[in-house]
Symmetry: C2
Subunit: 205 residues, 2 copies
């Protein structure tokens, strides 16, 4: 099938090759993450089976493992992708509220409701995140930073102070813990809302 006789084939190969090498890989990676998110959305953590992800992304199992060395890496990386999307969306809208307290609550409420709209996906990602071991430390750190940034931005548009960073960290911890309680059905959505509000009040009011 290769057009071996045309003089242009060379240039064409180089060009599409260029794009292929990096671009085909970007493309594969994207397919993998998309497949992960689709499967997670449908059936949660357990439904994200490596063979199923590979098949759906149309790559071999070995390739999947070359891109993501474990299921946890895969899910935490996907969480990172999702959080970045959420952050971008958040950056495009202005956050209402007269003070840090109101603004943080707004952001928390909005993102929490967003996650609760897709319970299986949330379950898959939070469980992977909290189950991650040291080998996924980098991915986990990345996500943790994204979360903290989200809350420091909500608190003020200035460069965050150390105190604001500390508060953001506490909020991240409480938020995650409540999300986990919610996905494991130990807390209702309104329990979560109440506790988050209480927490933010303790910290920022």
């Amino acid at each position: 099938m290769t057009a071996s006789s045309k003089p242009r084939a060379d240039a064409l190969n180089v060009l599409s090759g260029e794009e292929l090498s990096s671009a085909a890989q970007r493309e594969r990676r994207k397919r993998i993450v998309d497949a992960t998110i689709a499967l997670a959305s449908k059936g949660g953590f357990d439904a994200v089976q490596m063979r199923a992800v590979a098949e759906r992304a149309d790559v071999a199992l070995g390739t999947l493992y070359r891109y993501f060395p474990s299921k946890v890496h895969l899910l935490v990386s996907s969480l990172g992708v999702e959080l970045e999307r959420a952050q971008e969306k958040m950056d495009r809208t202005s956050i209402p509220g007269d003070n840090a307290y109101e603004r943080v609550l707004f952001v928390l409420g909005r993102i929490t409701r967003g996650l609760q709209r897709n319970p299986h996906l949330t379950e898959a990602m939070t469980r992977a995140f909290t189950f991650a071991d040291a080998s996924a430390g980098a991915e986990v750190d990345n996500v943790a930073r994204l979360m903290e940034r989200m809350f420091t931005r909500a608190m003020s548009e200035e460069e965050p102070t150390d105190e604001h960073k500390a508060i953001a960290r506490v909020i991240s911890d409480v938020w995650l813990s409540n999300l986990v309680a919610w996905v494991t059905r130990r807390a209702t959505a309104s329990d979560v809302a109440t506790r988050l509000e209480l927490t933010v009040r303790l910290l920022l009011a």
Copy 2:
């Protein structure tokens, strides 16, 4: 081996039977939990393999599963046992400090250092705790309650107020999250100490 002809055999059977039935089961359960803790202490979450626990506790695999329906149940239950021990020890000593802030920090420091003395065990238990799904909700709730009680007691000896309960919950969340960061080597012991102190200061100073 059964003394079938003696009139007392009956009573004895009933008695030792009584003790056996329940007591043999208590005994088995204890052996299982001990084996779990021993294996976890040696090699963490991965070393707690169901076959290994069963063998070490000298019960069949099926029996292990009859007592604890999954590895997570097993580890979270063991965490409950450990926390109760820690609480009892805590109850026997008086907590120094002039105010809630100092007292909570004292308790936090003490229990954190205790856990850090056995990193593998801590890793096994915290990972099981945060990985638990809905089916282990009861066990997880039990542990969460133990944690919160530990901190409300530190804050004051009175019946805890709602605010104190809320604060205890936040501290529990932050504490757990830092413990996880520590076992996954994303935070050092002194990072953890610093963050806990900062958190308690935000909440109680």
